[in-house]
């Protein structure tokens, strides 16, 4: 049997990103971005396990370089399938492209094969794409990093970190990406034991998410302060799937945190 037949059939079964096909056809694209002045990411996105599934949280600031705030109402966590979400930090256009690509991939797979793609499958597909982009978009490929999380058919939740170089790692308790990583990590590490045991209730999870984003916002220029823009919090559970946490609950958690941390006297 000719190898071309196998690869032709494979191309019809496994979807390829359209942009990547275009990039391949056009050869290497030399990026016009000034890499010495660029800000790699300007956001904070966290994800961790709670008793019923996963919580994703992100600040809402979109900045243009170091000095300009473009928006304080951005939503950085996106639903890519009924049971999976993606959060992206980095260049907005690249993130939007990847979110569209992943949404299309998931809906195509479900409609074709009647099964949803596993979260691991989605993360590996994205990592493969980002790695390939490096060869066609010089010098660093797409400027973005992602957290992908959700449920697979085995009912086990999973969180994966995917970086622009195509690296992929699974997180057993929590994960953070973006420029505010250091601040948020400090808070999440304090709760590492409970996060690993996956015993947090939704309320405790929301409080922890707000506190982590708050710390990141205090220390990082690219992350919105929670006093200016309340974070977006999303939960993914096996029963309901992707669901944005009621902003009233988030507001209450923000208020409680600010009251607790207000200077006394």
């Amino acid at each position: 049997m000719k190898p071309e037949i196998l690869s032709k059939a494979l191309n019809m079964v496994i979807p390829k990103p359209r942009f990547l096909e275009g990039a391949r056809a056009g050869g290497i694209v030399h990026s016009q971005r000034d890499n010495t002045k660029r800000m790699r990411t300007g956001t904070t996105i966290i994800a961790f396990y709670f008793s019923d599934g996963l919580i994703f949280a992100a600040d809402r600031k979109t900045s243009g370089g170091y000095m300009t705030i473009l928006s304080l109402e951005s939503v950085k966590i996106h639903e890519i399938s009924p049971l999976a979400a993606i959060g992206g930090a980095g260049l907005v256009s690249d993130i939007q492209h990847v979110v569209d690509m992943m949404t299309e991939l998931n809906s195509g797979f479900i409609s074709k094969f009647e099964y949803p793609l596993s979260v691991k499958g989605q993360a590996r597909y994205l990592a493969n794409c980002l790695r390939e982009f490096r060869y066609y978009v010089d010098p660093f490929g797409l400027e973005c990093q992602f957290l992908i999380g959700g449920f697979s058919l085995d009912d086990e939740p999973a969180i994966f970190e995917v970086y622009e170089d195509g690296s992929l790692s699974q997180s057993k308790n929590f994960a953070v990406i973006g420029s505010g990583t250091d601040g948020a990590l400090g808070i999440l590490r304090e709760e590492k034991k409970r996060l690993t045991e996956r015993k947090l209730s939704l309320e405790e999870g929301v409080d922890l998410a707000v506190k982590s984003i708050s710390r990141a916002g205090e220390r990082d220029n690219g992350t919105a302060d929670i006093r200016v823009a309340e974070p977006t919090i999303v939960k993914i559970t096996i029963g309901v799937g992707y669901e944005v946490v009621d902003p009233a609950i988030v507001s209450r958690a923000v208020k409680n945190l600010l009251e607790r941390e207000a200077p006394r006297g």
């Binding site: 049997m1 000719k2 037949i5 059939a9 079964v13 496994i14 074709k112 590996r124 493969n128």
Partner: protein
């Protein structure tokens, strides 16, 4: 098969008929039981079994080359899905879709005179059974609505098929974990009877 100087359609028909004829005395039967299913296979060569937790696939072929072509097709999609997505994403429909396209493309490739004389039964555990024929056609049967207790691929020789169907009707379909030992003997009996009556070189039962 010699390639004619006639029309491509004529060449295609000759190739198709030749491939079908080579599958005349080869078969794989899927027998539904309350706890799942078992397969009975027969022909010149042992079948190739492939699968994971969500599906089981049996590939039968006319000769060793055909079975190994089938094996190659199945391993190709397995490794492609594992490296692109993950092992969990290799489902029955993915395999059926790929195998169907490959067999169809191969049959339509008139530069190669020899078609892949292999057929596939894919059991989507607990849900349905998919049969991929040598020409790429896919037949799907839901377990709940199957007319007979069994379904089969191959056996295109009418005389062979008639005798085989008579024998397969004797195969037990009430196998449970309680009566397994006793029923295995019955299945073996049916299998040996098929082998003897149809003068097959190989007969196999896959549980």
């Amino acid at each position: 098969m010699a390639r004619t100087n006639g029309s491509p359609l004529r060449d295609f028909r000759i190739k198709e008929t030749d491939t079908k004829n080579r599958l005349g005395r080869v078969f794989a039967a899927f027998v539904k039981v309350p706890t799942g299913a078992y397969f009975i296979t027969g022909g010149k060569e042992p079948p190739f079994l492939y699968g994971n937790e969500s599906f089981k696939c049996v590939c039968v072929g006319n000769d060793e080359l055909d079975v190994s072509e089938g094996e190659h097709i199945l391993r190709e999609i397995g490794s492609a899905i594992s490296s692109t997505f993950s092992e969990e994403d290799l489902h029955a429909l993915v395999v059926a879709n790929y195998v169907s396209r490959v067999t169809q493309f191969d049959l339509e490739d008139l530069h190669s005179p020899r078609g892949v004389a292999a057929e596939f039964i894919i059991f989507d555990v607990g849900e349905k059974v998919l049969k991929v024929h040598y020409d790429g056609n896919v037949e799907t049967e839901e377990l709940g609505t199957m007319k007979e207790k069994f379904t089969l691929v191959g056996a295109y020789n009418p005389v062979f098929r008639r005798t085989l169907l008579e024998e397969l009707r004797k195969a037990p379909a009430d196998v449970t974990s309680d009566n397994l030992q006793e029923k295995i003997k019955e299945i073996e009996k049916v299998a040996f009877s098929i082998k003897k009556k149809l003068k097959l070189k190989h007969i196999g039962v896959l549980m």
